[in-house]
Symmetry: C2
Subunit: 537 residues, 2 copies
Amino acid sequence: MPRPAEALLDVISDWGVDRLFTCPGSTEAAVLDALVLRTDVELVLTTHEGVAVSMADGLARVTRRPTVAYLHANVGLTNGLSNLGAAQLAYSPVVVLNGLKPSSIQAREGFTTARRMRDLVHQYVKSDWQSLTAPAIPEDVNRAFRTAVTEPAGPVWVALSQDLMESTTDVAVPDTASYRFDSRVRPAPDAVRAAADLLAAAERPVLVAGSELARVGAVDALVRLAERLGAPVLHEDRRGFERPGFPTDHPHFRGQYEVGNPLVRRADLLAFLGARVFNEFEPARVPPLPAGVPVVHSHIDPKHVGMIYGVDAALIGDQRLVLEALFDALPPVPSREVPPAAPAVPRTPSAPGGPLQPADVVDVITDSLRGSAIVGDATTAGGILQQRAHQHTGDDYFVSTSGSLGWGMGAALGIAMGMPHRHVAAVLGDGVFQFGLPALWSAARGGLPVTYVVMNNQSYAAVGAALRRYGGEAVARQRYPGVDIAGPRIADISTAFGVPGRRVDNLADLRECLDTARTVDHPTLVEVMTDPAAFGP
Amino acid sequence: MPRPAEALLDVISDWGVDRLFTCPGSTEAAVLDALVLRTDVELVLTTHEGVAVSMADGLARVTRRPTVAYLHANVGLTNGLSNLGAAQLAYSPVVVLNGLKPSSIQAREGFTTARRMRDLVHQYVKSDWQSLTAPAIPEDVNRAFRTAVTEPAGPVWVALSQDLMESTTDVAVPDTASYRFDSRVRPAPDAVRAAADLLAAAERPVLVAGSELARVGAVDALVRLAERLGAPVLHEDRRGFERPGFPTDHPHFRGQYEVGNPLVRRADLLAFLGARVFNEFEPARVPPLPAGVPVVHSHIDPKHVGMIYGVDAALIGDQRLVLEALFDALPPVPSREVPPAAPAVPRTPSAPGGPLQPADVVDVITDSLRGSAIVGDATTAGGILQQRAHQHTGDDYFVSTSGSLGWGMGAALGIAMGMPHRHVAAVLGDGVFQFGLPALWSAARGGLPVTYVVMNNQSYAAVGAALRRYGGEAVARQRYPGVDIAGPRIADISTAFGVPGRRVDNLADLRECLDTARTVDHPTLVEVMTDPAAFGP
């Protein structure tokens, strides 16, 4: 029988995991040592725990398989928390292993210990546990995988004390195969029938496609349902959107949910499928649901259904199973015309020669990177990007609703690992960039041809926009404290990390950079200077 | 009466705080707006919450006054946690204000909310509270200051929801003066007498100077006591050491506490004064206290006394008051000779032309930067640096025992703000550097003439050392996974941030860089390439 570190790697490998993302410390010596002889599990070294977690998250999102991030002590855990929040909101089955100092010095409040490690993490994971004996480690880690992948999936945390990991005890490895099962559920028949009847009876139903559809591969199921219903489809509200649940090039696609959308205003039924209702950024100024319109809400996670607004039909379950069950239960549906898309609002072209406007830059990005998978992590430009990015499959666009800045820089690398045949680009703000810097080290080391596009408005534009909404002295005096972050030469920082960077200040150069970036076999970065005065909405 | 945001700034200002360190988001709009018209409180913008916290911590350490870091939502708090741990271990009175999303969307699990914010932070602060009403904000913040500065001092956390902060309610500002009082305590007379008698009766007492002495300005009190006792003085054990508690150039100084030190082995009394006994890195292989030797332990924080080892006399209280009381209570002391220092072990000079050895580099740093305050944040080279750095006052050398990598990059800026007439240098490892990168933005923006010295061994040498201690396959095959982090051109990264950097690979160039750095009026960075094979102890 193997020792704990080998047994741990056996369990990981049995679960189909072939990479271990980590930023290690001395508490991880046993597992690092055990990796010396392994060919089935690759150590992916990172230089910050936030990168380890976001890479593991990104890889899990596209492979729909569990991944592992191994963090170091309390300091490593806290550094990884904010991106762990991103993994949680995306239902990513990231198993977080956390090396702890030896048991005897934990009680003594020794170096990098915390008396209540679990308090730090419990809100970000489905389960938190500290292994109590060496023989329990393989079982605990196996259970962590089981819990992480069981729907609704999500991160799980297991703490492993150094003394237990370095124990010379031989330990048993569980038969992990018998812990892998189809954990998807579907709603009760009555619930399906009630929802199907509502959908069939509605004259002007609107379907809202949530991020869950992409996660579980149910986009095609929604296409089939929408076509059968003759219903228009919207992507879910911007603040809940993480991935496209419906192809933006499908004839039924009609943009993004917002209560002011004419389709929503005239709807007599709203069906939110795998969407959040809603992930609020701030208290709504106008009610985000039109009054008196029946609501169908379907989600894998019961906590989201009825979280804020009551529903007329609830469908708890896996989105593919839900959509298939709805399809099968639909009574004959009257023929309906999908209402035409609202005419595109012509955009005022930017003044030639002036500073680049975010919308113009986004147009070039989405045009040049058509066919690439895009990871969005740009606070104020994110909204425009999301509206304009071409999204045919659920794997074409990724964003986090966690607010964890810098997530996209590591996530893009994990996503690229999971989609080796696609070009991946991350579109970042300059503020965001400073939160994810160590990901550049991983990009350079890994050599994956990821393209980073940094829209550098030299500002915390979101703070500027908040001050403008606040409408106080900042607006009166046109002085916006906490906004100006000008200074860094981002392209040069990237180059110094080993990711060749270039700064551009016009759209032609941007286009050229992006065209080149898609053809090279290494990561690159383009920094595009945009208007600091464009605070966004 | 002012509104909540103005009242908050009134309280802050009344407590003598003239800077507010923050990396803001939209939840902080009210306080940012209120700052537009203030001249008494300066907004110090940072580009990462870890930097905001470490700057506030550094400033508090040298000014011995409270400071304020204002963090944003759950994501900002988690990003700041690891450096908050450093502030806690240093008893830094950092008041952490935490902007939260509006109350109504907290319950709804809206964007960047957490249901149990306090669980994230409670282990790192003396008190955690979320203001429940707008009028309570000034009182809650005032109480936070009172709690932070009351001894034992330390960080305090107050969460402020956006809706309360943006309330148009007029609120009362407490008379903060009546909450400021001398909270120092001294031990009971019997405890002082018992300890004084032990000290006087011992023939070979050894005093161990802890970091607490520097924090409260009691170094001179220990000098007086040591001279009266004729006793040798050691700095506390490396793992507990944060600041020098005794001048390294004093004739009684005899190095750093370790049980193998001949002075310790022959001692018949050990007095640990404001020191930790001990902050263990791992379980001790040999007992860290010699058997049968009586122990006097004095600390402001009762939790450290008797934490691991029993004591023969305990002195709970402020270190200056303790030392003064001991001095006054000492019976006549027999004349004693301070035993001579052990002869310095001659160091093998490095092979000329080979890669630079850490010890040689440290020699140049400590020699060139004599007179500068040094902030140490180098994992493996830290031990050598601490032994060799000239430390005449308690403000000559700063390190964190938290294990929070990158802390020193921001802390050095706060320390420089608090000591405008001294040159401050931070000595970093290259691994550490990647954890504190956004501090370079603050360095460039603030323009303080801080010198960053990065010892670049292109390695996580601590991990290499751990694998060597582990003695498994890594050693057998001389393959050290998780160690090689070569790649980044650190000096170039710094330059691109606006902090002119230079890479050197020989001691003459290093010396020249450091000499120049001390004369310029802006921050600089020197990257010195050292031997990747030198894993350290």
